[in-house]
Amino acid sequence: MPDYRNIKVVVNGVEHELDVETRTSLGDFLRQEIELTGTHLGCEHGVCGACTVLLDGEAVRSCLMLAVQANGHEITTVEGLAEEDGSLHPLQEAFWKHHGLQCGFCTPGMLTSLTAYLGENPEPNERDIREAISGNICRCTGYQSIVDAALDAAKKMRGE
C-alpha cells in the first residue's frame, strides 16, 4: 500500500505543506506536485546533473533524493534564480549572452550547480569551472560556451 507523509518545504520562497508518497523523488515532487517543470530529469541515476536544485543553498540531485528528505528545508529551483521583478541572475544573463545553451534541457542543472559553486568560489579559473560542472552532462554545446558564461558571470558577480 502506498505510504504517505506530511512534509513542509519552502520552494523559491513559497511555503508548501502537503502529503507525499514516501517513494516520490524530490525531482518528481517538484515537477508534479509543485508544478515547477523547470527542473529536468535526464538520467535518474545521478550522473547527468540536469535535475540539480539547491537545498538550503547546496547543490543536490533531485533524482537521488526523496521528497520526504526535503522536509523542513528550503529549495531553490531554476525558476527561483531570477529576481522577483524578473531581472535575470548574472548566470542567466551570461548563458544568454554566450550561447551557453542550445536545447536547454541541461541548462537548469547547469545554472543551479554553478550558482552554488560560485557561492563557494567567486574567483574561479577555467579549469575550476570545468571541474565544477563535470557532474553535469551537456550534449549540445561541447561545454565551451557554458564555461565562458560562468567565467563572465563570476566576474560580474565580483563587481568587475
Binding site: 535526464g42 536547454g104 570545468r130 561541447g142
Partner: protein, 776 residues
C-alpha cells in the same frame, strides 16, 4: 533597407524561456484526466514468445489496463511500414508495435501498462509474466554472413539485409598504374544520441473534435504524421503532430517509433490522454543507435602521394530491424572520395542484421564513417611514404577551379554528387595556422625530453548538407503589426526561431522581437521534412527570405497606392512604411494588414489578394557542400593509455553564416560528439545480446573536465545553390573529428609503431598496442 541582422551575433529568441525554467518539453505538458504508460521490454535478445500473462498486473490497484499486441485490436496485428523503401532492401524487416511471437533485441516492446501514475505502471510491469523460448542471438557482424550462421530473425533466409556499392572511374587502371598499394582494416563504432531529454509521447484522441493529437519529442513531425496516418489507414488531416521544445535530437529522434503507434491507440481505447516518457534505461535499449562498421580498404597511389584509386569492402551492422531504410549505410559511402580528387573508387557494403537495437543515423549519419575511412587512407599514404600529411592532402585536394566538381558518386536519389563550391586547401592552411602546426615538432621534442608523448593529427572533410526537397515558411502581418512566422522546421536546440526571425526581420524592416514564431506543428503549417542532415538553414532560410520578400513587395505596392508615391521611394523601418525624404508620410504594416483584411460590406483594394501574407518553399537547388579541416594535438600517457587533447583547431566553411554565434555553437558541440566517438562512447553487448553499458558510469559521454578548448575559424564560400549562399553547419564538427584525434594518437606513439584499428580508443586497448610495440 533597415537594420542588418544576417551575419550578426544576435542573442537567441529561445533563451529567455529556457534559462528561467519555462521551456515546454513533452513531459512538462499535463492534462487533468491524463493516464500514464510504461512498456514491458524484452529481456532476451532473441526468443520466441510462448505466452504473456498480464492477469496479475491488470489486477494491481491503479492499473487501468494492460495491452499486448492482440489487445490493440484485430486490425493492428501488423508490422510497421518501411519509412524509406529502397530496392537495396532484400529483406524488409520492420517490427510490430508490440512484439507478436518473436523478439529480436533486448528492449523490444512487448506490452504496455496504462495506470493512474507512472510509478504504478512500472510496479505492474514486474507482475507481467512472459514465457520465452530462448533462441541463439546474432551479435558479431563479422561472422553473421558465414554459412550456417544463426539467424537474427527465425524466418529470414540469411542475415543479409542488402548490398550496396559505390563505384566510379576505372579502378583496375588505377591500381595497375600505382607505384604503391597500401591496405588497412579498421572497425568504426558509433554509439547513441543520448540527447539529455529522452523520447516521450503524449496522445489525445478527440474523434468529434480535433482528431488525434500527438506531442512527441521528435525531429520530423510530418514524417510521424504521415507514417501514423498511413499505418492507421486514416486521413493525415485528422492526425496532428506537435514537436514542442525538444531536448536534443542528433538523429535518432528523426524516425517513427513503435511507441508513436501504441500510445495513440491506447489513448483512443482509454478515451483520455496518455503520456509515456522514456526513462534513461529504456533509452539505452529502445532508442535507435549507430553501431559497428568493419572497413577493409586498399589505396593505390603514386610515389608522390597522389591517390589514384580506393577499393574495398564494408560490413555494416544494422541491428534487428530497419526503421529508417538505408539512409545510414548509404551516407557512409556517398562521402567517398572526401575532399580529394580520386579518379576511381569501388567500395561495396553489406548491411547485416544482428540482435541489437535497430540502427538509425546519429549526428552526421554515415558521413563521419566515410570521411574517417578516406582520412585513414590518406594518413596511411603519408605514413608509408614518409610525406607530411598536410602535403599529401595538398597533392590530392579538389581545387577551387575544379568547382563544380562531380565526384562520380551518386546521392540516395540517384543524383550525382557535385561539390558546389569551397576551397579545401585554404581551410587546411587556416587550420594549420590556428594550430601552430609548423612549430609542433619543437613542442613535441621538448615534451619528449620530459618523457611526454605528444602527437598531432589532421583531418579534412566535405559534408553534403541541405538535402531537399524543401522546408517552407509562411510570413503574415497581423492587424496588431506583429509578424506571424510559421514553418515546419523543428528545432532541437539549433536556434531556428532566432535564425528565421533574423532573416524575416531584416527583409521586412521589423525587429526580431516583433515576430511570433510557430514551428513543428502539423496543425499550423501544412508540410515539412524535418531537422536532419544539416538541412534546415539551406532549405528554410531561403524560404523565409523569399516569403518575407513577397510580403515586403505586397506591402510596398499597397503603401505606394495609399501614400500616392512610387514604391521605389518607400522603405520599411521598425514596422512603418515611410516615404524617403518625407518621414511624416507613413503607414504601418499593421494598418496595411487591416486594409487587406477589411470587415464585411467593404472591399479588398483592387488588384490585391486578401491578407498581407506569403508562403514560400524556396530552398537549395542541390546539396550545398560544406567543408572543413580539423587539427588535434594530443598527449598520450604511455603508462595508462590516457589520451589528453591539448589543442583542437577547426577551420570550417558553411558558406554565408546567418548567425556566427549559433554556427560556432554547432561546430564546437559537433566536435565534442566526434571526440566522444573517438575516445569514449561504446555500447557493448555480450555474446548473448545482453547490453552491458546501461548507465552513464558504464557508457561514457564527454564531460567538461576532459574537453579541450576548441578554436574555430571560418571562411565563407557562398553556395551558388540558394539565394542566401548558405550551407549546413550542424554536423561539420563531428564528421572529421575522430580521424584527427586518432591520427594524433598514432603520431604521438610512432616509436611504438602503433596503428589504431578501432575506435573508441579506450586506455586498455591503447596500452595493449603500446605494449605490443615495445615487445614487438
Amino acid at each position: 533597407m533597415g537594420v542588418r541582422y544576417i551575419g550578426a551575433e544576435v542573442q537567441r529568441m529561445e533563451d529567455p524561456r529556457l534559462i528561467t525554467g519555462h521551456g515546454r518539453y513533452v513531459d512538462d505538458i499535463v492534462f487533468g484526466d491524463m493516464l500514464h504508460a510504461a512498456f514491458l521490454r524484452s529481456s532476451q535478445a532473441h526468443a520466441k514468445i510462448r505466452s504473456i500473462d498480464t492477469s496479475k498486473a491488470s489486477a494491481l490497484s491503479g492499473v487501468k489496463k494492460v495491452f499486448t499486441l492482440a489487445d490493440l485490436g484485430p486490425n493492428y496485428e501488423r508490422r510497421m511500414n518501411q519509412l524509406y523503401p529502397a530496392p537495396v532492401i532484400e529483406q524488409n524487416k520492420t517490427q510490430y508495435p508490440l512484439a507478436k511471437d518473436e523478439v529480436c533485441y533486448v528492449g523490444e516492446a512487448i506490452a504496455v501498462v496504462v495506470a493512474d501514475s507512472r510509478a504504478i505502471a512500472e510496479d505492474a510491469l514486474a507482475l507481467i509474466v512472459v514465457d520465452y523460448e530462448t533462441l541463439q542471438a546474432v551479435i558479431d557482424v563479422r561472422t553473421a554472413l558465414e554459412d550456417g550462421a544463426q539467424l537474427a530473425h527465425s524466418d529470414a533466409t540469411s542475415n543479409l539485409m542488402g548490398k550496396m556499392r559505390s563505384k566510379f572511374g576505372d579502378i583496375e587502371d588505377a591500381f595497375s598504374k600505382a607505384d604503391h598499394v597500401f591496405s588497412a582494416g579498421f572497425m568504426q563504432h558509433r554509439g547513441g544520441c543520448h540527447s539529455m531529454e529522452t523520447r516521450g509521447v503524449i496522445a489525445r484522441d478527440d474523434p468529434w473534435g480535433d482528431g488525434l493529437t500527438l506531442w512527441t519529442s521528435a525531429q520530423s513531425a510530418y514524417l510521424i504524421r504521415r507514417a501514423l496516418a498511413n499505418w492507421l489507414g486514416e486521413p493525415e488531416e485528422r492526425v496532428r503532430v506537435i514537436a514542442p521544445d525538444v531536448g536534443g535530437g542528433f538523429g535518432p529522434k528523426a524516425g517513427f517509433y513503435p511507441e508513436e503507434i501504441v500510445i495513440p491507440l491506447v489513448a483512443r481505447i482509454m478515451e483520455c490522454p496518455v503520456k509515456w516518457i522514456e526513462d534513461r534505461q529504456e533509452h539505452f535499449i529502445s532508442t535507435t543507435t549507430q553501431r559497428d562498421q568493419y572497413w577493409n580498404l586498399e589505396v593505390a597511389c603514386k610515389s608522390d602521394g597522389k591517390i589514384l584509386g580506393l577499393k574495398g569492402k564494408v560490413t555494416h551492422e544494422n541491428g534487428a530491424y530497419i526503421p529508417y531504410g538505408i539512409l545510414l549505410p548509404n551516407s557512409s559511402l556517398t562521402p567517398l572520395p572526401g575532399a580529394y580528387s580520386i579518379p576511381a573508387i569501388d567500395v561495396g557494403l553489406d548491411i547485416v542484421f544482428t540482435n541489437t537495437v535497430p540502427n538509425s543515423p546519429v549526428r552526421g549519419a554515415g558521413r563521419p564513417c566515410g570521411i574517417y575511412a578516406v582520412e585513414r587512407m590518406v594518413q596511411l599514404v603519408s605514413r608509408r611514404l614518409g610525406i607530411d600529411p598536410a602535403v599529401v592532402r595538398r597533392r590530392n585536394f579538389v581545387r577551387p577551379e575544379q568547382m563544380p566538381y562531380e565526384t562520380g558518386a551518386k546521392l540516395r536519389g540517384g543524383d550525382p554528387v557535385i561539390y558546389d563550391s569551397g576551397d579545401y586547401e585554404a581551410l587546411l592552411d587556416k587550420a594549420l595556422e590556428l594550430s601552430d602546426y609548423d612549430s609542433f615538432k619543437v613542442r613535441q621534442s621538448e615534451a619528449r625530453k620530459e618523457g611526454r608523448y605528444l602527437g598531432i593529427g589532421i583531418s579534412s572533410c566535405i559534408e553534403d548538407t541541405g538535402m531537399g526537397p524543401y522546408e517552407g515558411t509562411t510570413v503574415r502581418v497581423e492587424a496588431s503589426g506583429k509578424i506571424v512566422v510559421k514553418t515546419g522546421a523543428a528545432s532541437q536546440g539549433q536556434g531556428h526561431h532566432t535564425m528565421i526571425s533574423m532573416i524575416v526581420a531584416e527583409n521586412l524592416g521589423v525587429t526580431p522581437e516583433d515576430i511570433i514564431f510557430e514551428s513543428a506543428d502539423t496543425g499550423k503549417f501544412p508540410h515539412g521534412i524535418g531537422a536532419i542532415g544539416s538541412r534546415i538553414a539551406a532549405n528554410v532560410a531561403p524560404s523565409a527570405f523569399d516569403a518575407a520578400s513577397k510580403v515586403r513587395a505586397k506591402a510596398l505596392k499597397l503603401a505606394a497606392e495609399i501614400l500616392e508615391t512610387a514604391e521605389a521611394d518607400l522603405d520599411i523601418e521598425a514596422g512603418i512604411v515611410r516615404v524617403n525624404g518625407a518621414p511624416d508620410v507613413s503607414i504601418s504594416l499593421g494598418e496595411l494588414a487591416i486594409k487587406l483584411t477589411p470587415p464585411s460590406s467593404t472591399r479588398v483594394p483592387i488588384g490585391f489578394d486578401p491578407i498581407l501574407e506569403a508562403t514560400s518553399f524556396d530552398g537549395s537547388s542541390g546539396s550545398p557542400i560544406a567543408s572543413g579541416t580539423n587539427v588535434a594535438e594530443v598527449e598520450v600517457d604511455t603508462g595508462t593509455g590516457e589520451v589528453k587533447i591539448l589543442r583542437y583547431s577547426v577551420a570550417h566553411d558553411c558558406g554565408v553564416m546567418i548567425n556566427p554565434m549559433i554556427v560556432h555553437g554547432q561546430i564546437v558541440g559537433g566536435v565534442v560528439h566526434g571526440i566522444g566517438n573517438a575516445l569514449f562512447e561504446r555500447m557493448i553487448y555480450d555474446d548473448q545480446g545482453q547490453p552491458l553499458t546501461m548507465n552513464y558510469g558504464e557508457y561514457l559521454l564527454p564531460l567538461a573536465s576532459e574537453m579541450p578548448r576548441i578554436d574555430v575559424t571560418h571562411i565563407e564560400t557562398p553556395s551558388p545553390l540558394n539565394s542566401l549562399g548558405v550551407k549546413g553547419a550542424g554536423e561539420g564538427g563531428t564528421i572529421p573529428a575522430a580521424a584527427a584525434i586518432i591520427a594524433a594518437i598514432e603520431n604521438a606513439l610512432e616509436e611504438f609503431s602503433v596503428e589504431v584499428d578501432y575506435y573508441p580508443v579506450d586506455p586498455q586497448y591503447l596500452t595493449s598496442l603500446i605494449e605490443a610495440g615495445v615487445t614487438g
